[in-house]
């Protein structure tokens, strides 16, 4: 019964209309959206024409963009996000073992490196980095993200990070939630306009250096000098093409060295800021104690004992690239479960489904990097916010056509 052929409507809010071919003649039908918790009911007669029940939420994904430099925690974030929706994200079964795609029940995550127009040799010849827009095919990126958003499958190229070559393409079918992660999800205006929500991971230079030392020092051939040289050589392009995207993000996670330990530059204790844009549809920022006030909070004291260097929170309104934002900040790290629960119980607007869900998610992935600090906490919170946004959009889609049908 469910016929939902290729859609051409781009607006999330318009009724889902489609053209159905039926024995040689074409006829336009209004399709009723259904959400997962829809009351069951058989096909109804409506004004003498047949109506279809189709789960269009499956066909028209919610699209999320995640921007960050290489080696700055995008994959960890993606694992936390897919976990919030339940189920683990796996590479496509039976496909290219070097595919960069991750698929779970609800979510497909693609890596935008797959849209490199120049392979490794090509970039070397032309003397451009992967950060440079000239090394990327934004036309194809736009066409394919748009097609997925409209419910059409695409044959997406695969950039092989080991060989540096473009491998034969893989088929990507529209999921419920489609995440594009990489260096440039918000660079091209056309792609940016397709995003229902966008996140930028902003890692300060000090922390980036510390993280790359952690990642690469054991690797043969690497040294402090090589790690530093690589960061410095890429920095001009990073500053020119990647960093400016943060002004467009709905949420920015900023990772900085701690202020709790004077002159700390080890990058082990972190100060993390969650910058949440105000007035974004379907996104209500998290707050601490009193929405819109400015608050500094040290939870460690008589009720809660914390180990050195302790935990400090801050919350308040601010402006970011001319936009009204709410900023939540955590400095320090959790050492024990009760600290995390205590903090969660004092935050509001978390979009959890039950008390303690943030803590539960953090514990579930205690082995992921950042599970004891603000990076893990804020990534989990953003994951819950994306789930909430998705549910609101699905409910809205289900509601609008029903309204239209009443008229």
């Amino acid at each position: 019964m469910a016929i939902c052929s290729a859609h051409t409507t781009t607006s999330l809010h318009s009724p889902c209309t489609t053209t159905v071919s039926n024995s040689g003649f074409r006829q336009k039908h209004v399709i009723f959206f259904t959400s997962s918790n829809r009351r069951s009911g058989g096909g109804r007669r409506h004004g003498g024409t047949r109506t279809f029940h189709v789960s269009c939420s499956v066909d028209k994904p919610v699209v999320i963009g995640l921007a960050a430099d290489s080696g700055c925690g995008k994959s960890t974030f993606m694992r936390r996000l897919t976990s919030v929706f339940g189920g683990a994200a796996e590479p496509p079964k039976g496909g290219n073992p070097d595919s960069n795609t991750l698929i779970s029940d609800t979510t497909t995550v693609i890596c935008l490196d797959d849209y490199h127009s120049l392979d490794r040799t090509g970039r070397k010849e032309k003397g451009v980095t992967a950060l440079d827009p000239r090394a990327n095919n934004f036309d194809l990126m736009y066409e394919q993200v748009k097609a997925i958003k409209e419910g059409q499958a695409v044959e997406k190229p695969i950039y092989n990070h080991v060989t540096g070559l473009l491998d034969p393409p893989e088929l990507i079918t529209p999921p419920k939630i489609f995440v594009i992660e990489g260096l440039h999800p918000m660079f091209d205006e056309r792609v940016r306009d397709l995003l229902d929500f966008s996140i930028y991971l902003d890692i300060s230079d000090e922390v980036k250096f510390a993280w790359k030392i952690q990642r690469d020092m054991a690797e043969r051939g690497h040294s402090l000098e090589s790690i530093k040289a690589s960061i410095e050589a890429r920095k001009p392009d990073f500053d020119a093409y990647i960093d400016p995207q943060k002004q467009y993000a709905d949420a920015v996670i900023e990772v900085l060295p701690t202020q709790l330990i004077p002159d700390d530059n080890e990058g082990k204790v972190l100060r993390v800021k969650l910058i949440m844009k105000e007035g974004v549809k379907h996104f209500n920022p998290v707050y601490l104690f009193d929405e819109g006030s400015s608050i500094t909070w040290v939870p460690c004291g008589r009720k809660l004992t914390c180990s050195y260097p302790g935990i400090k929170f801050a919350y308040g309104p601010d402006t970011y690239f001319g936009n009204e934002v709410s900023v939540l900040e955590m400095d320090g790290q959790f050492d024990r479960l009760d600290e995390l629960i205590y903090v969660e119980s004092h935050l509001s607007n978390l979009s959890t489904k039950f008390y303690g869900e943030v803590t539960q998610q953090m514990l579930k992935h205690a082995d992921f990097p950042g599970s004891n600090n603000g990076t893990g906490l804020f990534q989990t919170m953003i994951g819950l916010k994306i789930r909430d946004l998705y549910e609101q959009i699905v409910a809205e889609r289900a509601g609008v056509p029903a309204e239209a049908a009443k008229v």
């Binding site: 080696g71 690797e219 043969r220 050589a233 205690a366």
Partner: protein
Amino acid sequence: MASTVASLSTPATFAAADVLPRRKAGGRVWFPLAARRCGGGFAVRSTGPATPPGISDKVSESIKKAEETCAEENVSGECAAAWDEVEELSAAASHARDKLKEDGDALENYCKDNAGTDECRTYDN
């Protein structure tokens, strides 16, 4: 982090730390990997599996090439492109290690259900 636990009967291909992180008794829940990253007291190798040799060679070659390229002319796009290749391969190496680690975790999952078997026994020093 006082007690150092080592799995003695682990196959040599797994770093003991990958098999290890277990919840400690006594009501305190630790964040094992995070603790390990912060220089916890594990006596055994704690960096996880080694990078597959193919990628490892590419990383070290790319570093050599980048150093050469930049020695000649360090403001050129070629220098940046060469170091960008180092970054790309280093990230690929890191992903490859993560993948190996996930396979190692398969043993840990097995041990959750089969704690009494020889290969899952842990010892307190």
